[in-house]
Amino acid sequence: MFAPVALYFIIFAYVPMAGIVVAFKEYNYRGGIFGSPWIGFENFKFFFGSGKAVQVTVNTLLYNVVFLAAYSFFSILVAILISEMTGRWFKKVSQTILFLPYFISWVTVSAFVYNIFNFEYGLVNTFLKSIGSEPINIYSNPSWWYFILPLFYIWKWVGFGSVLYLATISGIDQECYEAATIDGANAFQKIWYVTLPLIRPTIVILVLLGVGRIMRGEFDMFYQLIGNNGFLMDATDIIDTLVFRSLVGSQDFGMASAAGLYQSVLCFVILMVVNAFVRRYDESQALF
């Protein structure tokens, strides 16, 4: 029963995985993946020699930690609140509506942000000017983006994220709630003592899966919202955007592969540590 999936991952993931060697090669078409000459760690030099390796690594990690925490918190909150609602109509409609932002691509989001915040005729600045305030220029002020980016992230993903928690909540045995009611628990206590403990396995696994991607940035979001804006770059540059900017011209397979390998190794190490921690605490909740 496991074979079809196993076969798929062998063919589509493990066979091409051998291509990791490209990170250590000077790729040319005649030699291909295995015939190109070895060049050691040469392909890693552009990243570690950029003078920004530490900065973008830290940025990637911090943004993703904030994103993961905020996303999990709001997804759980929304799922619990929706499941507690009594009005059927509003319950259904609001769930669907929360899903809408998922369909708005970052390109379009970026056009929106520009329309709202641009200095000359954006909605916010038109309003500020009309009440006699100074217009604001968010595109040259990095501190705004520490809030804007997580807010947009939550906005886009919370509808999506709450689905799995909703599914888990709907799988909870009603007898648990009935028992809690008999014990005299109020509505809030039932959430705290019944719902949350019972959805904990889902929380743990989703967070763990998120941790496995902790060094891979949401490239589209950063690239579309920030782009090549030099003013914001120190605050908003992540590994993926730095690598993209550096390599978009040369399209060097080896260098791209090297950067990917760096991210993989970091993800791997962080995940193994967190997973080991979870294992020690509760073996059945660990990923493996």
């Binding site: 496991f2 798929y8 993931a13 990791i20 609140l81 369909f103 709907s170 496995g212 990923l287 493996f288």
Partner: protein
Amino acid sequence: MIKRTSDFYALNAIAYLVVGILAVLAVFPFLVLTVNSFASEHEIINEGYKFWPKEFSSGAYDMIFKNPQRIIRVYELTIFITVVGTAVSLFLSSMAAFVLSRKELRYRNALAFFLYFTQLFNGGLVPYYLLLSRNLHLSNSILVLLLVPMFSVMNILIMRNYMANSIPAAILESATIDGLTEPGCYARIVLPLSTPVLASIGLFTALGYWNDWWTPMMFIQKEALYPLQYTLYQLLASVNFSAQMVNNAPTVNLPKETLKLAMTVVATGPIILVYPFVQRYFVKGITMGAVKG
């Protein structure tokens, strides 16, 4: 019945307030976007997005639906890929998840690691592309559109987690004692009891297929095999670049800005209607009913 006490009302008030605010934040941009997709290019460039444009124009939609047969064909293809892909994926992934969820299986952690490792490490784009196009000859086939997005390790592990935690072990034990085989357990007990998670993973998989533009971008050259998102993506790219790269460009009045908005509306349309069907499975008490029945 539930007693409607003050804490019940308080919780509902909070729920309506918080979810209501979030819903407004979610729906408002979408409404503005829809309205402005009907604005004229001239007005968007000159005045930005408006709540209610002065100059209405269907230019962007005219461009998308310039060739109606083609768009119908594109929708058909996309729906086909989404339905078939999701069905196959859900069936095989849930089987794998069931295997991983069995505590009797000694190597279940090793197998989970075998899957998860592919999430962490991959050979990158070049080997993957070469394997699919040169060794497996999957380019320009509907098969590649079905296979590339088919399985997600995340989804399999989420299902495993649900099956391991939400299905009482006692039920499976008694079923095994009653002589039910493993596939029997899977089909008769686990699947019916997993409907909420199957519904949500099915939704995710369907969205993955529906929104996939990367696979066709990489592996499809024949226009007849372009799914919806890639068709729109191509349209936008060609509008953005044609004026720049093409000499003697025949027309400049291309609705570049409104096209972005109209694309979102066109791509969201049918798939958002799937969600209400998924919601049906998020009803409390489903486990109890299934076990008793």
